[in-house]
């Protein structure tokens, strides 16, 4: 098990390096120049060139990459071009809202999706099944910002049940924290929920026709334990896999959701950084997101051993 974890972590090194190269190239090859943003509208080309020189942007691209990656390997994500702060510090400052949003979304989506998926599989072909799957298709096809604004209009503006936007740290109380996360979580989680509900239904449908389900029924097992104890545990591996893969949906959705709901998280940090071409922040955030994705999926693979006794590492 330990050997497996070490092997998997070592295997992520080339992946992360590749991510670093791609992110660096994308950021630097895209049009736009941070020096001219910093210099302002009335700057002369000499001033801009001077700023470029101090930021090291005049050096060849491979040299800039070498400097950046060397620091990253030492655990230093660099300095922001605009704020006089380290990238790591900025990310940590903005982490709480994003982590909060990710956790509430995960809980919302997974708990509802699995219930709906199991229900749809059990009642396969019925009206319930068709409405759940219709909802899943809709949830997957409507963009986050459309859902977000619809929710805000209905529950915040018309019904006045929940705040329109913003974020409160959990230190200021659980409910103020939670009530501002409900609408963003629903908006962000809908596509995720749809994905998990679909895979749950498909997997459960297959498992419900297995011989051991008939054995359970022949024993007199009632419907609920038959579904959850006998079938769902067997469906866990594909479901957890999709939960892990779907984290990519969350990461990309977080950026939009934080903008729609004005949440000062990492998503907003990176959007602001992109508009200003704050290269170190964009690169740092991308790298952190990739690392999270890789680690989540490692955790998913390890969790297989909890669900299936046949899996051993």
């Amino acid at each position: 098990m330990i050997a497996y974890i070490i092997r998997r972590l070592l295997a992520t090194i080339p992946v992360m390096l590749l991510v670093a190269v791609i992110v660096f190239l994308l950021v630097h090859l895209a049009p736009g120049d941070p020096a001219s943003v910093i210099a302002g509208d009335n700057a002369t080309s000499d001033q801009i060139a001077a700023i470029r020189a101090t930021l090291g942007l005049d050096r060849p691209l491979w040299e800039q990459f070498a400097i950046w990656i060397w620091r990253v390997l030492q655990g230093d994500l660099g300095q922001s071009l605009f704020w006089n702060r380290g990238v790591a510090e900025l990310i940590l400052q903005r982490a709480e809202p994003t982590v909060s949003l990710a956790i509430t979304t995960l809980i919302f989506a997974v708990s509802i999706a699995i219930g709906l998926g199991v229900l749809a599989a059990w009642k396969a072909g019925s009206g319930i099944d068709r409405s759940v799957m219709g909802l899943a298709v809709a949830g997957f096809s409507v963009p986050v910002f459309v859902v977000g604004y619809l929710l805000v209009y209905l529950f915040a503006i018309e019904l006045r049940w929940l705040p329109v936007q913003g974020y409160r740290p959990i230190a200021q109380g659980f409910w103020p924290w939670l009530e501002r996360l409900i609408l963003p979580s629903v908006a962000l989680g809908l596509a995720y929920l749809a994905l998990i509900a679909r895979i749950t239904r498909t997997t459960m449908l297959e498992i419900l026709s297995e011989d051991y389900i008939r054995t359970a029924q022949a024993k007199g097992v009632a419907t609920r334990p038959m579904l959850f104890r006998h079938a769902l545990k067997n469906a866990a591996v594909p479901i957890v896999t999709v939960v892990g893969i779907g984290v990519a949906l969350l990461i990309s959705g977080v950026v939009i959701t934080e903008t729609v709901f004005n949440i000062p998280g990492i998503g907003r940090l990176v959007v602001d950084a992109i508009t200003r071409r704050d290269y170190p922040i964009i690169q740092g955030v991308m790298l952190v997101f990739s690392a999270i994705y890789v680690l989540v999926n490692l955790a998913v693979d390890l969790s297989y051993t909890l669900f299936d006794p046949r899996v051993r590492y």
Binding site: A124, G125, S209, E210, D211, Y212, R214, T215, A216, Q217, A218, K219, G220, V221, A222, R229, H230, K233, N234, F307, D308, P309, R310
Partner: protein, 327 residues
Amino acid sequence: MTETAPILEVLDLRTHFFTQDGVTRAVDGVSFSLAPGETLGIVGESGCGKSVTALSILRLLPPKLSRIVGGRVVFEGTDLLTLHEPAMREIRGNRIAMIFQEPMTSLNPVLTIGEQIAEAVRIHQGASRKEALARAVEMLKLVRIPDAERRVGDYPHQFSGGMRQRVMIAMALSCNPKLLLADEPTTALDVTVQKQILRLMLELKERIGSAVILITHDLGVIAETAKRVVVMYAGRVVEQAEVTALFDAPLHPYTRGLMASIPRLKHNRTRRLAEIPGIVPDLRTPIPGCAFAPRCPLATDRCREAAPSLDDHGGGHFAACWEAGRA
């Protein structure tokens, strides 16, 4: 024959499957009865309706595809077909238990053997987790799984096919059922293991006092174990008799065909093993006459026009054949 009230009476059972291509009459008017503690064999080729009959008794067929369209299944005086689902669940695994053909796929891969045996005990006898697990260990010892205390915590993939079938037997008998439905319990096992499992099942059945319906395509198994035999063909009973009477003087040409296809060492090796020509008919189209007529060496025009009824040919030996007994 002593007249005890039968524990199970199946009367004119009809189970149909509804598919896109039409209605399949998988079980089409099957009747038989079973005395307490008796072993009844049901034989026939694949697709003749043996398994569907057993699954119909426990009402375990997929409700979306199939329906029991007629008949009665009277168990200890109650017609099971009239019971509500919760009442039916109290019978399943408790008064009537079932053993399936495929030991490799019939156990849940993610639950321990102990949990799976203990479950029925907990459901039906209200036993605590601990009591039920103790009962599971006891059952594992009964089916002669060595080192039962330790193996109770193992998962199915840690057992061989024969061992898994022992576990299935332990599970089925854990609540001392009055009736055990064994659907080809040894077919999927190695020949060397088949006999052991069969003997174990019958020994425990005697101990517990259960009646058994043993479904098989193997007449040899029937000869060794059953008291009475039902021969099925195309969803119907074609012959029913005491086992000795059936083997001494089979009346239905289908039964004779089955017997002729058993290899015997005594016979001249050069003689070709007999087979029944043709295949089991398509059950989606109604068959006007005898379903076996197209494959029968004795078939006449009458056989093709009208279905023979299951008549007593003396001494409780029933056969559904116009030409019954003709050589």
